[in-house]
Symmetry: C2
Subunit: 202 residues, 2 copies
């Protein structure tokens, strides 16, 4: 991260001079190859083995394309909390390529629908933080998709407080995570199929 | 909004049975036509007249394409707080079309860089709320781009609290808004030009 006294270039640019080994999201991208989101591997496939990211926390993939990867947040704010990011290391949204930005827009919509279908929760937030002042924790650009079940007031307040990294978050329950990730992958495939069927034939 | 007891369909679908007159963002889209983002009209152009949305609050456009429109938030959380939405009425992110989702992804990146360039603030949040439980206020899908200057602790806390609609927000200063919107439109144009120049020629 540049220090506040460095010259600031707010253009669209790429940071590629990065040590992948130090970034948890680059590690995940390096371990898990792309698959066809319309035809995901079986849940017990080696390609999806949650433990392949050891000694880092288990990874529950929900999407993996040549450009993007998405997985369950390891400290979810709610059940179904998903992160979507480019495979390549891009610190901020302005560092993604034009092609990545298009696919991010496309899959934010599809994953939102898939998470809603998998969780049954109809309200959700999409949040993407750039830089320390904006509460970005992992400096590899990621969108949060966070289901918002109707909460009683006390829990709702805690929820808002923790949305930007303050307050208590609990570790992902790995027994719940595996079937949840499978449902989200299946919902993505279903949605892509139903969209392809509805497309006017040329 | 469907009540919690209604059947819930979390697929990708469109809500078009909507009374445009009751939606402030539909009103803005109806009043302001598209322009070429790489060659925006002059600041004093009739096409950009902030008062054209009267008796609703003045509108400071920063982007207007056939599919999307973006403008300064009328109760900004910080200077440069921008909203980006489809012209058509789409209640949630899952209601936008595939084409809209691609262009949203593209312009989230370009507008983020333009807002950073216009404000000089290098950190920012992107937030998009779906449904009442997620603190969505205007039920016409919109992304917030919110610069996050380094704030002293007290202001920073208030900032986080107001991010989801709680706490005090101040009205847009219209004298500051006009030149700010112009700078953002110009930065969008500059960024689009510099990207076009860097593209490999086919």
């Amino acid at each position: 991260m540049p220090s506040p006294t460095n010259e600031f270039d707010p253009g669209l640019h790429l940071h590629n001079d990065h040590d992948t080994a130090s970034c948890p999201f680059c590690r995940i991208a390096a371990i898990y190859g792309p698959y066809d989101p319309a035809d995901p591997p079986a849940a017990d496939s080696v390609a999806l083995n949650p433990e392949a990211s050891a000694p880092n926390p288990a990874t529950f993939l929900v999407l993996s394309t040549p450009l993007l990867i998405a997985f369950l947040d390891i400290m979810p704010l709610s059940t179904g909390h998903v992160l979507l990011c480019p495979r390549e290391h891009r610190p901020k949204l302005t560092d993604v390529t034009a092609a990545e930005s298009l696919e991010l827009g496309s899959y934010l919509r599809v994953l939102s629908a898939a998470v809603a279908r998998a969780t049954g929760v109809r309200d959700w937030n999409v949040v993407q933080n750039n830089g320390a002042a904006a509460a970005q924790v992992v400096p590899h650009m990621h969108f949060h998709i966070i289901p918002r079940p109707e909460l009683r007031d006390k829990r709702s307040e805690r929820f808002t407080a923790t949305m930007f990294g303050r307050g208590q978050r609990e570790d992902l329950d790995e027994e719940e995570a595996a079937p949840l990730a499978e449902r989200i992958r299946e919902a993505v495939a279903e949605l892509l199929h139903s969209e392809a069927e509805n497309k006017p034939k040329l």
